[in-house]
């Protein structure tokens, strides 16, 4: 079935075959898709000319799903089933949410592993919600490009950890998209600038999206994009500014407001609207409808807004300095600062970033589009449409480590190491005859286990029994070009491969993904069956009505055996219409038409005779 064909990548094809590849920016507030058209990257628009798809998914009681603008319009009315900013939940556990998005209007289910949301259509993981968004973008791409996609490059914040990256890849898989590469958002932006503007030298890409912040330092040189260091905050974005403004609005209307999700949503939307307006205006107002039904105006001056949001912007500077330190670069060595993400339209942000780096930032390419455009360029290169030597070299954003004695973390691969990278570590047994051991992999910069992200626990089984300390188990940690970790293990003295069982801490294991895929396939089939059945019923009913009308009018034209044949076929059709097989309805309707041919013929003849009655042939031919 085409919907879920996951291509077994087979390499070369005919040299001139143009493969359809896209870049997808799966954002916190908006998502979009771009491709290469006539050698130029361009965003793809929907039938109404819009290219930004709000990253909002609404699960409706009737079993349907709405995505985008239509879902966002329902956010205030149906807050529990309308999921916004799901990117903040990707690869996260329920216990982490307090520190993430603040109060979430939807119901989060407690439990181990990745967070689950309670909707009217049952429990949904962020992976499934994201897959709905990706499905729409895939449809948009296939409709406007007129064919099936070979694959897509999907962007992720540079600072996304392994669990968040894996969750993104899983979402694409669920949406039936062959992921060519996960690409860091700032790197994608650099590609767009490097190719379009011919930028060369050292660049800082400052990317403040709706919910994530990334700073990457890259060296651009003749098609080589080399990330020197990256740093960020996976829970800092324009949404935080909106929330600060919203808090002010809520405080202002504390008397008249209430705690309903609908009011909270309305305030949040108003906060975003006024922030956007104050990017070009010195002062602005928004209208709000109080829970009492009374409409009120809320007024804000840019100066006041800036005093509220400055701390949010300043929070991004610590990661900036960390990246500079890691890359051993002084701000004055930087040749250009590129702004990415809608939140960088805020004038105060531009001023403060200019101060930090000592130069005016660049924003020639639309900060909403630049990431998707860069991803499209890479996607095109990855499917072999370009012969240009494009080389992207990225880094591991956060250190990988292992739990050691006393709940401490031992780093095995430090942050900002170029990927792909592998590191082997040897372990030994501490008991005679020990045949298994467990290893806890973490990601982060802190010393204690609990302060880092738990990625997975591995149990190594099948270690040959030996005296304590004799076994030498070599565990290899391999990070691929997508920044994803894989682990393999081998007992070095005997060469026995230990079995590695992965239990992702926040990801979905393969069994869960397979189950979701199966459900998606089943649903897809169901959907198609449903549609066919509905169509067959309409057609069957039309045939029956036409027959009944003809019989009522001209039934007398039939001989009794002819009439019996038609009646039998009609009874068969009625029976089929009562069932739920589209094929049976189609067959029965065909049989009715066949049986009724004689009636149709007689009626035609009769009609002709009536028209000619009382006239001679000659008369007709003279006319």
């Amino acid at each position: 079935m085409a919907l879920l064909q996951i291509a077994e990548p087979g390499q070369s094809t005919a040299p001139h075959e143009h493969r359809l590849a896209v870049g997808i920016d799966l954002g916190t507030t908006h998502s979009l898709v771009a491709t290469i058209r006539s050698a130029q990257p361009a965003v793809l628009r929907d039938s109404q000319g819009r290219y930004l798809l709000p990253s909002v998914v609404q699960y409706r009681a009737d079993g349907t799903v709405r995505v985008g603008e239509e879902a966002r319009a329902e956010a205030a009315a149906d807050p529990h089933n309308t999921i916004a900013s799901v990117k903040r939940l990707m690869g996260r556990g329920a216990e982490e949410l307090q520190t993430l998005a603040g109060a979430l209007p939807y119901q989060v289910l407690a439990g181990e592993g990745m967070v689950r949301l309670q909707t009217v259509q049952g429990e949904k993981t962020p992976v499934e919600v994201s897959a709905e968004i990706l499905r729409i973008l895939r449809q948009r791409a296939e409709e406007s490009l007129g064919g099936e996609l070979t694959g897509a490059v999907i962007t992720v914040p540079a600072y996304f950890d392994d669990a968040q990256r894996q969750a993104t890849k899983d979402a694409a898989r669920l949406a039936g998209i062959n992921v060519l590469r996960l690409l860091a958002e700032p790197t994608a932006a650099a590609v767009a600038y490097g190719l379009d503007k011919g930028a060369e030298g050292l660049f800082a890409i400052y990317d403040l999206g709706g919910g994530t912040f990334d700073l990457s330092l890259l060296r651009l040189q003749k098609g080589v994009f080399e990330v020197l260091a990256t740093a960020g905050d996976a829970a800092l974005g324009g949404d935080d500014m909106d929330r600060l403004i919203a808090e002010q609005i809520l405080a202002h209307f504390a008397e008249q407001g209430d705690s309903s999700p609908a009011w909270q949503r309305q305030v949040l939307l108003a906060a975003r609207a006024i922030k956007e307006r104050l990017s070009s205006l010195e002062e602005a107002s928004v209208e709000l409808v109080l829970p009492s039904g009374k409409a009120v105006q809320w007024h804000l001056r840019r100066e006041q807004l800036e005093s509220w949001i400055e701390p949010v912007i300043r929070r991004s500077f610590a990661p900036c300095r960390r990246a500079l330190r890691d890359a051993h670069i002084r701000p004055e060595e930087i040749d250009g600062v590129v702004l990415v993400g809608g939140a960088t339209r805020v004038p105060l942000l531009r001023r403060l970033v200019a101060e930090l780096f000592g130069r005016e930032p660049l924003c020639d390419i639309d900060p909403d589009q630049v990431v998707a455009l860069g991803a499209a360029i890479q996607a095109d290169a990855l499917v072999g449409n370009q012969s240009d030597d494009l080389l992207l070299m990225d880094v591991l954003p956060l250190s990988l480590g292992l739990e050691t004695m006393g709940g401490l973390v031992e780093k095995i691969i430090p942050r900002n190491t170029p990927i792909p990278v592998a590191k082997a570590q040897e372990f030994t047994t501490f008991k005679d005859g020990q045949t298994a051991m467990s290893i806890h992999v973490l990601q982060g910069e802190r010393e204690k286990v609990e302060d880092n992200r738990s990625l997975a626990r591995f149990s190594l089984r099948g270690i040959p029994p030996m005296t304590a300390g004799a076994a030498r188990i070599r565990v290899t940690f391999q990070v691929d070009a997508d920044g994803l970790l894989a682990v393999s293990a081998e007992e070095a003295s005997t060469g026995v491969r230990a079995e590695v069982q992965v239990k992702p801490s926040y990801g979905l294991d393969d069994a869960a993904i397979t189950r979701m895929l199966r459900e998606a396939i089943a649903h897809g089939k169901e959907d198609i069956e449903q549609r066919r059945l509905a169509e067959a019923r309409v057609e069957g009913e039309r045939v029956r009505e036409a027959l009944d009308a003809a019989l009522a009018q001209d039934g007398s034209l039939l001989q009794s055996d002819e009439r019996a044949g038609i009646d039998a076929a009609r009874a068969e059709l009625l029976h089929a219409l009562g069932g739920d097989s589209a094929t049976a309805i189609d067959h029965a309707a065909e049989a009715v038409e066949k049986a009724a041919e004689v009636l149709v013929e007689r009626r035609m003849n009769q009609a002709v005779r009536k028209a000619m009655a009382g006239h001679s042939i000659d008369e007709w031919s003279e006319k």
Partner: protein, 193 residues
């Protein structure tokens, strides 16, 4: 395109990964302590272009794995040989069969060097206690200057390698690196506080 051993010289197909190649050999560089950073970079880029997973995004699983292995090793070669301390220790292990920085080798014994390191650490703690950014910068610059000196001494020592002469230099350098990392950590703590 010069791609070393990774590509078949006739057909250009990616070859099975060869783990026996040294980090110098994989880059086609002569084995030695002194390396021209520009030559290292261009050798690495040339080879990475040829074997990088991005070139094989549509390839079969086996080819993709080989690409991953070659690229991983090239990245390692660039990282190790690009850093004179790691390069020095890699060369040391090629000559003497083990790292100079592992536990087996013991640690610094020269009392003069040890004393210098202790004084340095005290100065850092004092500066950190009062958040003296300028003092931190001064200490960092001094450490960088000493790194340069050690690098020169190593270059001379590797012309006729003796473990007893090279190991202490590498170990002293390792101390300096830890010291520099501590300076970074103080700054980072202040930043993120």
């Amino acid at each position: 395109m010069e791609a070393g051993a990774a590509l078949c010289p006739q057909c250009g197909a990616l070859q099975p990964f060869d783990p026996s190649l040294s980090l110098f050999a994989i880059l086609g560089l002569a084995e030695g302590f002194v390396i021209d950073p520009a030559a290292l970079r261009s050798a690495a880029l040339e080879r990475l272009r040829a074997v990088h997973p991005d070139r094989f995004a549509q390839a079969d699983g086996r080819t993709q794995r080989q690409s991953l292995e070659w690229t991983t090793r090239l990245n390692e070669a660039q990282a190790v040989l690009g850093d004179p301390l790691r390069r020095g220790d890699y060369l040391f292990s090629r000559h003497f069969g083990q790292s100079a920085l592992g536990e087996e080798m013991g640690s610094l014994r020269d009392p003069e060097v040890l004393m210098r390191q202790m004084e340095r650490r005290e100065a850092l703690e004092e500066a950190a206690a009062v958040r003296d950014q300028a003092a931190l910068e001064r200490l960092r610059a001094e450490a960088h200057a000493e790194e340069k000196q050690i690098e020169e001494q190593l270059a001379a020592s590797f012309t006729a390698p003796e473990a007893g002469r090279i190991a202490p230099l590498l170990q002293e350098w390792q101390y300096l690196r830890k010291f520099l990392a501590e300076i970074d950590q103080y700054e980072e703590r202040w930043d993120f506080a």
